[in-house]
């Protein structure tokens, strides 16, 4: 079984702060990490490999420094790693990204047929959840999003059974391979790499492909040209014109403050008073 796991190197968005005064984004010291959602996909793929045998190839598109993310994936136990990087990819939106990744998967497939493609459910920087479905459609693979568990794989029949999270419950789905699975978060915990894999990762020669090597002939299908959407504006949320009315009273006693507050709130929002009274009754 050959599983390709698509990962992305992202800024650790939890570390991004906006300057309170100037409202500008502060990028200093924001480290690049493997998209946390992708780690669930990688671990799920590694578990399948442990159970059924086969190989796991990690794939990413990004700047040269994204190699670090791939090396990390190797340390967890992935067998191969491919970095697709080219200036032509700059400005790619999700459609163009899925085009490039789909093409790279086709190239990987030539060396060793791909049975499954795994990705995280979304990235933490873009949060779009579109690249996975995009790759599946381009490669004409069965798409299984928000998968919480891979129940079984039948290699001979090319069948796979998964649990998929949907609104209000879980769908038990059966489909055939090749298929693309986006993995739900919290479904597993990434393993602690072995020493042998740490050595392997630090010596592994990551395959670096440019646009041609990734099999993308049409330059207009990637980068800015291949992106239907464009970011026209990035801005900080505007502060509400009127600031909070700060409740004050002479005593500054919590009790008096509370009573004053309620009187003010209910005087202005009589409906709210009825609402609360109704609930409390």
């Amino acid at each position: 079984m050959h599983i390709v796991v698509c990962i992305k190197q992202v800024p650790d968005s939890a570390q991004i702060r906006v300057h309170p005064v100037t409202n500008t984004i502060m990028r200093q010291g924001v480290p690049a990490i493997v998209n946390p959602y992708d780690l669930f996909a990688l671990e799920e793929a590694l578990r399948l490999k442990d159970a059924y045998g086969g190989r796991v190839t990690v794939l990413t598109m990004g700047p040269p420094m994204a190699e670090t993310a791939l090396r990390k994936a190797i340390s967890y136990g992935a067998d191969d790693a491919v970095l697709v990087t080219d200036r032509a990819f700059a400005g790619s939106d999700t459609l163009a990204t899925s085009c490039a990744l789909a093409s790279a998967i086709t190239q990987i497939h030539k060396d060793m047929p791909v049975d499954l493609v795994f990705t995280g459910k979304q990235t933490i920087d873009g949060d779009t959840a579109q690249v996975g479905p995009g790759i599946a459609k381009r490669l004409n693979m069965q798409l299984l999003t928000y998968v919480s568990k891979v129940r079984s794989v039948d290699l001979e029949k090319h069948e796979i059974m998964v649990e998929r999270r949907s609104e209000g419950g879980v769908q038990l789905l059966k489909t055939s391979t090749p298929s693309l699975i986006t993995v739900l978060e919290g479904t597993n915990e990434m393993r602690f790499a072995t020493m042998a894999n740490m050595f392997r990762a630090s010596r592994y020669p990551v395959k670096v492909w440019n646009r041609e090597q990734a099999g993308i002939e049409d330059i207009a299908s990637v980068g800015l040209k291949g992106s239907p959407t464009v970011v026209s504006k990035v801005f900080a949320p505007t502060p509400r014109a009127v600031k909070a009315e700060i409740i004050q009273c002479e005593s500054n006693d919590p009790k008096d403050l509370s009573v004053t507050l309620l009187a003010k709130v209910f005087a202005k929002n009589p409906k709210l008073e009825n609402e609360i009274a109704k609930r409390a009754a």
């Binding site: 650790d12 939890a14 570390q15 200093q28 010291g29 924001v30 480290p31 602690f192």
Partner: protein, 98 residues
Amino acid sequence: MSVMVKVEEKLFQNRYKVDSGRPHISIIDEDKCRNQCESQACTTCCPAACWTMEGNGQVTVISDGCLECGTCRIICDEHRNVAWEYPRGGYGILFKFG
């Protein structure tokens, strides 16, 4: 001059990868902290306020916000009651600037 400081506000700016369920610092003998230690210096000198003195006189440590400086271990020189290891590789504080 007294200044209100919330160390949580400071630690919030830091980046951590917490190894949940595997604290890297622990108390060897809790009874020693309660009954034999007079200074309980760890509860005032830890720069990340990981150590607290509970109402019942017991000292507890929660190492999630630990800056891995070593103060608590060295300061416990009379009792040597702190089991102190570095966190597992890659876990713990991750300085953005250092």
